[in-house]
């Protein structure tokens, strides 16, 4: 006879297994990294064999891919999109610009560290990262999901105030519905 804990483990395993093998990526080319996404998705690199495919609206998406630098105008939209996604949701920071601003470190219109505004699961460095490294980033994310370590929706919800303060520092005209989870 299996007890509750064990059956919960099995259920978790199955759920995480399917979660990791079915990653719907938000179709949002936020920055110039978007140019390598078609290559990743299409015939030579074919991300679909890992279950990675595009999703048109945030409601259906699991992964938000921040492809490169974020202008402040885009940051507002990214936050909106991120908040509309359903948990568990993951964020991949793509390219050096998401880590430290990259070559736009001194630009007045791009943010420098993405994780200050939304939680990030995996960073892929490089400018631009090759499709291979994009896929390896996804595989890293899959590992984290299988271990149950990747769920940033929860982190975001719990530290919402801190994130909000950072976000509002940049976005002056805050006209968005509240994130009421």
């Amino acid at each position: 006879m299996i007890n509750d804990k064990d059956s919960q483990k099995i259920v978790d395993y199955i759920q995480n297994f399917s979660r990791k093998h079915s990653l719907f990526v938000m179709a949002y080319g936020t920055g110039c990294g978007a140019i390598e996404i078609p290559a990743t998705m299409t015939s030579r690199y074919d991300a679909e064999r890992f279950g990675i495919r595009g999703a048109a609206t945030p409601r259906q998406a699991d992964v938000l891919l921040i492809t490169g630098y974020l202008a402040t105008k885009t940051l507002k939209r990214v936050i909106r999109v991120y908040e509309q996604m359903q948990e568990p949701k993951y964020v991949i920071g793509f390219g050096s610009c998401t880590i430290n601003g990259g070559m736009y470190y001194d630009s007045y219109n791009t943010i420098n560290a993405l994780e200050q505004y939304i939680p990030v699961d995996v960073y892929i460095n490089g400018c631009m990262p090759r499709p291979e490294s994009v896929i390896s980033g996804f595989i890293k994310l899959q590992e984290l999901i299988q271990q149950g370590k990747a769920d940033n929706g929860k982190r975001y919800r719990e530290n919402l105030e801190w994130y909000r303060t950072n976000q509002k520092k940049i976005i002056k005209n805050w006209k968005m519905p509240d994130y009421n989870w």
């Binding site: 949002y28 299409t42 015939s43």
Partner: protein
Amino acid sequence: MIREKETTLYLGPQHPGITGNMMVKLKVQGDTVVSATTHVGYLHRAFEKLIERRNWLNAFTLLCRFCVPEPDPMELTYARAVEELDNREVPERAKYIRVIVMELARLQSFLLWYAGQAGSGGLYTMGQWSVGDRNYILDLFEDLTGGRIYHMYIWPGGVRRDLPEGWTDKVLRTMDYLEGRQKDYNQLMFDNTVFQKRAKGVGIVPKEKAVEWGLVGPPLRGTGIKSDVRIDEPYEIYDKLDFVVPTFEGGDVWARAMVRQEEFRQSISIIRQAIEKMPKGDYYNKVPNPMKWIVPKGQAWAKTESVRGEIGFYVASNGTNKPYRVHAKGAAYSHGVTILEKVLPGQNIADVSFIMNSLGVCPPEIER
């Protein structure tokens, strides 16, 4: 404010149908667009401002990110502007190499356009094929420069390094392959009656207004006007090569697609000719010390033909080791804002993305 009657549709910034990160706000009545407004700035990273803080050569890292699908024409245009200011001669071999790189960039961008045009019309197989084939060209770039997308290969005074051993053979083989593939593409896309039905008579730019509205490049040639920087103001060695600039009448999506399809063939032929005629010799007229290189005072305007049309750089120098002002104008600057706003009203919602792809709207080029 009184509520509008027309429905507002946000095409972008987060939308599978938009060609990048921008927004076209559509007011629709039924499924007809009543008015369209382009909103840009989602990609504004102020690189003109940043270049003013870099020196003349450091600017190249930023420049090639000007329009992502096709970085090389930016490098070339800027390099030519700087060469004009500095009166720097370019070795003959470098000019040939530059032409090959330019045409390869054009080819890969065409392949990306195939994907966009077909994908926005619902033909996904086409996109999978062409973007897959695009990797072969990117491989060539990787061999040549070390980078897949961003190369920073063309410098003022020539190119950064000579061609690797056997690279030209590889290029020729790839050209043969692509020529064969183009037959497949044509069968899948241009011979398809559904595609023809979708494309004909859609998104018409009137011929008499085309130049005045600022239409350039393949879309302009799609209205029947022969205009190409490569023949209007020949740069590098384009005047020594034998190629045709195709034009088609109509000004609709179909005409633009046909122009591009023909230009794809022409680019392959140009590359073959350039490789055949390429002389041996120096590839780089070395600049003194890149960190301290001072470019004389003056202003220069250089333009080249990219896949979307002419790209111009206005460079002003005040005689220091940093550019004083660099202003870039891409084709999408007029295509994506004025012309799009003029063409879209009256069109079907289903055609909006189709037309945008056909006009070659590239958001980073608009806002920089």
